[in-house]
């Protein structure tokens, strides 16, 4: 795409974006994560203190909760109530035949027969290597 996009490398992220990535990392992990583990998961050239600040802010908002693990705190997302909202979201995105104010989702527009094609493409991309790692 245009040069404007490529001049902004992924390491330069706005605070709101970082918060999103930290939150996503916490949701992705099966267990509560320590700040160090969050840092490893989000990656990039983040400072430990940045991650710490975001975690404290999220905790203050009540979006995540923490437990003591050894000498550090480990954080996990608060699950309560999100399922109610999830239902609301499903409704909003499912029923609108003229989805005007609302965009198509990331992976809408799928037909069952697409699955074979997508699996082949994944295989070509070397997904085999990743399966072994997991």
């Amino acid at each position: 795409m245009s040069g404007r996009n490529s001049t902004q490398p992924s390491s330069r992220r706005r605070p709101g974006q970082l918060e999103g990535e930290v939150l996503a990392a916490l949701w992705a992990a099966p267990d509560p994560l320590t700040p160090a583990a969050v840092l490893a998961s989000v990656g990039g050239d983040l400072a430990y203190t940045t991650v710490m600040t975001i975690l404290v802010r999220l905790h203050d908002k009540g979006v995540i909760e923490r437990t003591k693990v050894g000498r550090a705190f480990a954080y996990r997302p608060v699950v309560a109530e999100t399922d109610v909202v999830a239902e609301q979201v499903r409704r909003l995105f499912a029923h609108s035949s003229d989805r005007a104010a609302v965009l198509q989702g990331l992976i809408d527009g799928l037909r069952p027969e697409d699955e074979i094609m997508l699996r082949m493409m994944l295989a070509d991309m070397g997904d085999v290597r990743r399966d072994r790692e997991v």
Binding site: M1, S2, N5, Q8, S10, G16, Q17, E19, G20, E21, V22, L23, A24, A25, W27, A28, V42, G43, L58, K61, V63, P77, E81, T82, D83, V84, V85, A86, Q88, V89, R90, L92, A94, S96, D98, R99, A100, A101, V102, L103, Q104, G105, L106, I107, D108, G109, L110, R111, P112, D114, E115, M117, L118, R119, M121, L122, D124, M125, D127, R130
Partner: protein, 310 residues
């Protein structure tokens, strides 16, 4: 008010095939822009043309004729539009009015729902991202409203299906929708296609171009392979979750272009130069339609000035 007045309708038919071509051949950003601009021009000019074609019928009404100082029966002789065409155009205008009102009502309902959702999400997420406890992989960009900034919604199903890099690509994709204000393209397309239903078919093309645009944006922030992998993995995970029956995807039914084509486009080697010629062609054609209507307005004025002179 001669042949050119019918041009916007002919061009709208030609647009059916052309928008698909642009969507396939032109890089996503100019594709989305040119199709949307052409839709606006064609919607405006076809409504304008209907108005002009319907006008002679109104001009025969005695009250209007006396106000304009021409004789109602002179309209029959001097205006080169058969009365049956004027009647048809009037009916079409009424129908279009109904469609636009209906679309506006739908948009308002969606706006209200979006606002409600924003309000509900305040307590569940960070500033930008809200994670929803739903095993079906899904990600959406919730457009901003007056009171709330745009927000990204992802399901736990999506997060579980992807690794760290791929997750970053998925978030970057949704972020691109918000930062490039893709919801406005969708909004404009919805209104334009209510004004001229023929343009409705192009909405699927715009929607595909917007997804591709966001994919390319995500690819420039992560990498093409990572973005392609994120899409393909999320799609496979979603399909295996929704194994039974048809997967909902309204835009898909119109476009017939979906995730598979997007993944393929990301994996395609990038040496091919971006073609923009077609984008200019459809914008140019739509401008021709607009010009034809402008000329017809002038022509109509001239005809009625002659009527008054008699």
């Amino acid at each position: 008010m001669r042949a050119p007045i019918y041009l916007p309708f002919g061009l709208s038919f030609a647009f059916l095939g052309l928008s698909r071509l642009v969507c396939r051949r032109v890089s996503p950003r100019p594709a989305a822009w040119s199709i949307t601009v052409a839709m606006v021009l064609l919607a405006g000019s076809s409504v304008g043309a209907l108005g002009l074609l319907a006008w002679p019928l109104a001009a025969r009404i005695p009250a209007i004729a006396s106000a304009g100082r021409w004789r109602p029966d002179a309209v029959n002789h001097r205006v080169p539009v058969p009365i049956s065409v004027s009647m048809g155009a009037t009916l079409a205008l009424v129908a279009v009015g109904g469609l636009v009102l209906n679309r506006l009502r739908g948009l308002w309902r969606q706006f209200a729902e979006t606002s409600r959702l924003h309000a509900a999400l305040v307590s569940t997420g960070g500033e930008e991202l809200a994670v929803l406890d739903d095993p079906v992989p899904a990600a959406h960009a919730l457009p901003p409203t007056l009171a709330h900034c745009g927000r990204i919604l992802v399901s736990t199903g999506l997060i579980e299906a992807l690794d760290n890099e791929e997750r970053a690509a998925a978030l970057a994709h949704e972020r691109a929708h918000l930062s490039h204000r893709h919801y406005l393209f969708v909004l404009v397309g919805a209104l334009a296609s209510a004004m001229n239903p023929l343009l409705g078919f192009a909405r699927g093309d715009v929607s595909f171009a917007l997804e591709r645009w966001a994919d390319e944006d995500a690819a420039s922030r992560t990498s093409r392979t990572v973005t392609a992998r994120a899409l393909a993995k999320a799609a496979v995970a979603r399909l295996s979750r929704l194994h039974a029956g048809v997967v909902p995807g309204v835009a898909m039914q119109l476009a017939q272009l979906g995730v598979v084509q997007r993944v393929a486009a990301l994996l395609e080697p990038q040496e091919r130069p971006a073609r923009r010629g077609l984008a200019w062609v459809i914008t140019g054609l739509a401008l021709v339609g607009t010009a034809a209507v402008a000329w017809s307005v002038h022509d109509t004025e001239r005809i009625f000035e002659l009527l008054q002179a008699r």
